[in-house]
């Protein structure tokens, strides 16, 4: 099966740089599935999960919060504001962050400057929770994450 090269880059590190079969990304106008030989495309990304599909392997999930994606026929570059692998997400912390954001949101007024900021952090923590739970569903042992390897 044809492959495309996927790069996922954040300001702090390069998460992925390899050949994959399909990428599903949270575009600002809706979720996009990118297969090899996709037309050239430049899009903004929003909060959501990025799914990486490889032949004969379980799908890999990443939590993305905003950024850009550049698609060329055989090459996809994701510039993410922040990106985390499912394995790296601390579910308890994400859950705590969601609670905190919800509480703050309940207090904040719509007109508040902080409102959008809190809303963004709520969306971010929801995404992280969703992606983090993916890992729990998986039946195989999780891979060692980048983070652990760095320690």
């Amino acid at each position: 099966m044809a492959t495309l090269r996927l790069e996922v880059i954040t300001v702090e590190r390069k998460l992925i740089d390899e050949e994959v079969n399909m990428v599903v990304a949270p575009g600002s106008e809706g979720v996009l599935g990118i297969l090899p030989r996709h037309a050239a495309l430049l899009t903004a990304l929003t909060y959501g999960e990025l799914v990486v599909k490889r032949d004969g392997q379980p799908d890999e999930f990443l939590a993305i919060s905003g950024g850009f994606m550049e698609v060329q026929p055989g090459h996809v570059v994701v510039l993410a504001d922040a990106a985390e692998r499912a394995e790296e997400i601390d579910l308890e912390r994400a859950e705590a962050a969601r609670k905190r954001a919800e509480e703050l949101l309940a207090q904040a007024k719509k007109s508040d400057v902080d409102f959008t900021r809190i809303e963004a952090s709520l969306r971010r923590s929801l995404t992280r929770l969703k992606v983090g739970r993916r890992r729990a569903e998986k039946r195989f042992a999780p891979q060692r994450s980048d983070y652990e390897r760095m320690q």
């Binding site: 590190r13 390069k14 050239a40 495309l41 903004a44 550049e70 060329q72 510039l79």
Partner: protein, 301 residues
């Protein structure tokens, strides 16, 4: 000549100092390595962001009219400078060089009333003491700053520029060239000038890699919106990079300063040991003379 005991005490205290400076040198060295890695890690992102920016702006003739952040002001009345220094001293000429560079910049461009946004305690203290206009200050940044830490700084710069409070915003920080060389630089942050790659390092990095073909892209939602999200992001990125570069410079400046201090202390210990031995010898000789003199006196009696 000082007494034997006094010299001994001084040797001990200098040895202590040498130990402390050596420890600081080690700490700075490991921090520097981490900061350097961080500076390198942000380059692929920065390069790609540049590419997209260049590509988007090349789609239009008059870049100036495209976006407020790209627009040059005809008359520059007020300028803001973001100045990155360190919180702590003992880093050789690191802070002094940065402050001197900014002061000279302000004098030469006749912008001594510029609004200053200071990062780091040293720069703030100096500018406050000299009665400059410090509009915002950031101190105690974490040792490994994240993009999140640069956001508030970027916010002030962007808001100030867009509301017309500042007509130009400059970024002053110390470029990390290598462990021995760091160069204080002042470069323009806003308005953004695409095609004008000022960073030496970035232009080298970009030169090798231009994968962005002149193909027709599909834009989602559209080019204007993309530019609208990219440009502020880009400003944040530049500030983040400046922070990381400055941190790497700070730690290497401190490392070199502490290495010199350790070497000087060792030299001092050598000198002091010599005087200690001389003093000791002298004391012994004096004692022997006394004894000999005493014996002689006894013999003559």
């Amino acid at each position: 000549m000082a007494s034997v005991r006094e010299i001994k005490r001084r040797i001990k205290s200098v040895k202590n100092i040498a130990q402390v400076t050596r420890a600081m040198q080690m700490v700075a060295a490991s921090k520097m390595r981490r900061a350097q890695e961080q500076a390198l890690a942000s380059r692929p992102y920065a390069a790609k962001a540049w590419e997209i920016l260049l590509h988007l702006s090349s789609q239009y003739g008059a870049v100036d009219l495209l976006h407020p952040l790209l627009r040059q002001r005809e008359q520059v009345n007020h300028v803001a400078i973001i100045m990155v220094t360190s919180d702590k001293g003992l880093a050789g000429a690191y802070n002094g060089n940065m402050i001197r560079k900014v002061s000279r910049f302000m004098r030469q461009n006749n912008v001594e009333d510029a609004s200053l946004i200071t990062v780091g305690r040293k720069g703030r203290d100096f500018m406050v003491r000299y009665g400059r206009k410090v509009v915002a200050e950031f101190t105690d940044l974490p040792a490994q700053p994240t993009l999140l830490d640069s956001l508030p700084i970027a916010r002030i710069a962007l808001d100030g520029f867009l509301t017309g409070e500042f007509d130009e915003v400059y970024l002053a920080y110390t470029d990390f060239i290598n462990t021995l060389t760091q160069e204080p630089v002042v470069r323009m942050l806003l308005p953004i000038k695409p095609g004008n790659i000022e960073s030496k390092v970035m232009s080298e990095y970009l030169g090798q890699e231009t994968t962005m073909v002149k193909a027709d892209y599909i834009y989602e939602p559209n080019a204007e919106t993309l530019l609208d999200t990219l440009l502020p992001r880009f400003t944040e990125l530049q500030i983040y990079q400046a922070l990381v570069e400055a941190f790497a410079s700070e730690h290497s400046a401190r490392m070199v300063a502490m290495r010199n201090a350790t070497e000087n202390a060792k030299e001092l210990i050598g000198d002091l040991t010599l005087s200690y031995n001389k003093a000791r010898q002298e004391a012994i000789t004096k004692e022997m003379l006394d004894i000999a003199g005493g014996a002689e006196a006894l013999a003559q009696a």
